[in-house]
């Protein structure tokens, strides 16, 4: 009995050594190391498809973008990272500012496929997918005619009616950055203060929880990313289906700048050991084949203009997007957080 743990230990150590030696063998072949903040099963399927098509093995490190950026900074010139994928433009902007990225190779391809405001000015990164940050309202209590813009949410008529999550959430930060860019700092701070004044409860939970709270009557309007609603509409959970059935989607600011969008995006690492494969990978992810996977499985809006939206998104109709350049969102992100704190948006 006493020797059993020892025996197990030896077996397990040898098992992990075997894993290691296997890795060394493949290291000589072509490999692509992906640092990504996205962790969807559909992404994994896409990576496998790329492996099959190109013969390049894809290794994935999944973590939060900030941690990945810190890792790349510490690794320096020897960093094994080839590409960095994040779920917002702000982090890519930060990675670029820290000198962690390099320009993509096929600028013409990217220009031809993707709208200019979704590409870094120096081509250090490009958006992969879009999500609109929309209003979700209770069908039985709110007349969509009474809705108009993000800015109008601070009107007294919405007192005690608004639901939104914490200002630690990057999507709220991006929205705030877009308001700073469009309306100016002072107006943005007043807007945040007005939002806090109109909140139905302290910010808590995630986007889906806000939708459920609208359905249950805790408030009338929530701020939510589109793809979460797409997922709720196709949920296996009866209570989520019932909740999402009671609400409807509203695209704000259609008569002026358009609805705010945030993106997930990709850039080539500055010290990429395999930059050629990295560029090949980006071209693949922007291809119609890959973009339709993004669109269909994850209810995101594809950035490739030739690819159609999924049926769920089509049902909501076309809408006008805020074509604010994403560079600006990255630059203003920190300012947005500071204004949130000053306004007391928890």
């Amino acid at each position: 009995m006493n020797k059993l743990p020892l025996l197990l230990l030896i077996v397990l150590i040898s098992f992990s050594c075997k894993e290691n030696s296997e890795k060394k063998e493949t290291a000589n072949n072509k490999e692509l190391n992906v640092y990504t903040h996205r962790h969807y099963d559909s992404d994994k399927a896409l990576f496998e498809l790329f492996e099959k098509q190109s013969g390049i093995k894809v290794n994935v490190i999944n973590s939060k973008a900030d941690e990945l950026i810190q890792k790349m900074v510490l690794e320096g010139e020897q960093s094994p990272a080839d590409v960095l994928i994040t779920v917002d433009a702000g982090r890519l902007h930060m990675a670029k500012a820290k000198g962690l990225l390099q320009p993509v190779a096929n600028k013409e391809t990217i220009d031809s496929l993707v709208a200019p405001n979704l590409i870094d000015k120096d081509y250090h990164w490009v958006a992969l997918t879009k999500r609109a940050r929309v209003l979700v309202y209770a069908k039985d209590r709110v007349d969509p005619e009474s809705l108009s813009t993000y800015e109008d949410l601070i009107l007294p008529k919405w007192n005690d009616k608004l639901l939104f999550r914490s200002s630690s959430n990057i999507y709220n930060q991006s929205l705030m950055a877009s308001i700073v860019a469009n309306d100016g700092e002072d107006a943005a701070k007043k807007w945040a203060q007005g939002m806090v004044k109109n909140q139905a409860r302290k910010p808590k939970g995630n986007d889906r929880d806000q939708v459920k709270a609208v359905a249950a009557g805790e408030g009338d309007i929530a701020i939510v990313n589109t793809y979460y609603i797409g997922k709720m509409l196709n949920s296996n959970d009866q209570s989520e289906l019932e909740a999402v059935d009671k609400v409807a989607v509203y695209f704000p600011n259609q008569n002026d700048r358009g609805t705010h969008i945030n993106v997930s995006g990709i850039g080539v690492a500055k010290h990429s050991p395999n930059a050629e494969a990295a560029n090949q990978f980006i071209d693949f992810l922007l291809s119609e084949e890959a973009q339709s996977v993004f669109a269909l499985s994850n209810y995101e809006y594809p950035v490739n203009t030739n690819v159609e939206n999924s049926d769920v998104l089509k049902a909501w109709g076309d809408f006008k997007e805020d074509d604010l350049h994403l560079n600006l969102l990255g630059e203003l992100n920190k300012k947005a957080v500071i204004l949130f704190d000053e306004a007391g948006w928890k």
Partner: protein
Amino acid sequence: MKQAGSSQESFSFKHRIQRGIRDLNKWTVFTVLILLFIAVPVITIFFKLFGGPGESWGHITNYLLVDYLKNSLYLSVLCTLITLVTGVVSAWLVTRFEFPFRTYLEWLLIIPLAIPGYIMAYAYAGFLDYGGIFSWLISPFGIENFKLDMMNVVGLSFVLGISLFPYVYVSARAFFLTQALNLLEASRLLGVSETKSFFKLIFPLSRPAIVAGLVLVLMEVLNDYGAAQYFGVNTFTTGIFRSWFSLEEPETAIYLSALLLSIVFVLIILEKYQRRKLQYTSPKSGRTSINHRIKLSFPRQLLLSFLVSLPVVLGFLIPVIQLLQWAVKTYTQVFNQDLLWLSLQSFGIAFVAACFTVLFALLLLYFSKWNKIYSVQSAAKLGVLGYAIPGAVVAIGIMIPTLSLDKTFIELGWASKFIINGTLIALVYAYVVRFLAVAYQPLESSSLKVNSSIPDSSKILGMGNFKTFFKIEFPLLKAGMLSAFILVFIDILKELPLTLILKPYHINTLAVKAYGYASDEMVMQASIPSLFIILTALIPVIILNKLLLKNG
């Protein structure tokens, strides 16, 4: 006078140095070496205290810090209370009394620890949500559309308390099993009532064991991020991540972590100082047969079963029922045989790393005991601090020294790529650094029970340190070691930030899988990997619990 005073001082300083040199032995050197190995990441972060915070510091102190500190304090006090009462009471009842289902409850009481805090938070929020299981249960009573909102500080304290009380339970029970019963018998023979004996004798004597558990609870409460973030409760750790992720200043985040480290270090030293003069050893080596359990009348036994199963229901049954309900809805989407392979990998990594962690904790504990310089003994406490700060920050503390080592190897031409980072070495090292406290606390408290006169006589009779250890202390420490191993193993099984950032490409764990879903608001899909974590934790808990009882 003045001159005399200064010569006195220099004498005392000289004297101290001389005494230090006299007392210096090889164990001092070994202690310092081990300590360096373990504490380098913590020291790396600690030194950032002198680098100062980033430019957002003013903003943080103006708008955020007060709120954060208030919440953290509130949370710490509430969690301490919850885990103290739940852990100690349940440990005492299962050791002292006989009642139906006791043998099952004994190990079921450890399992809540296997459910990651954020999963517990999601499970409870889901359970009590509109249309959740709870509202379904009460709907026959005519209550419709009901939601018990627990997304606040009190709810968070409950969720964390109910998942962390096993720390107190395990270390209190290890003490009760080995020590308490003969003392209690003596006290009962002298005519003191059962209740009075417990509060006057057993409870004060078990203080080192209980404190050891509470220290772990507190550190884990302080570094929790996932559950607090979901519940919208801003704690000190929220501040760390807000300065890092949102205000884009990693240096301020590390500065805040260093502050947190200092606070916890001071608390640990204070507690040790306060109990310095108290001796907690027993004259007997303390091996009691545990057939002495009291049998009450049957209705009272049932009452005990009910009482002891309460924490199991709250910390295990309710979240598991919720997870099962979600699992039924998503298994077609999530379940495949990969999960079995993942479980095996998770098990292997946790097993190996837990062995190393317990080994290093033992080495640190005994080397510092055998060394005679008191300040080196206190410094050994530095080794446990890795547990007090968020894993993501520990990861930075790990990467800074190991990457510079890796880079040096490459420059010297000894390696063509990183050989520490991106391999299992860095990951296991990180686990040892992070979870040393979890092994060290129960080991230290059970080593205090070994009366020093036994090893001392052994050494006087010419046995060496190692021989004495293996012949005398090791058998007495077994219970503590097994407890330590169980706790570390479970902790590693559910560990997240270190695993995410340091794991080799080809390694994957159940916790990573669960997080992948949960972080994208696919809580239901996260249920199956979470259930697998619990299942994987069950096997060693059951086996080791048997061993623990046999050795107790």
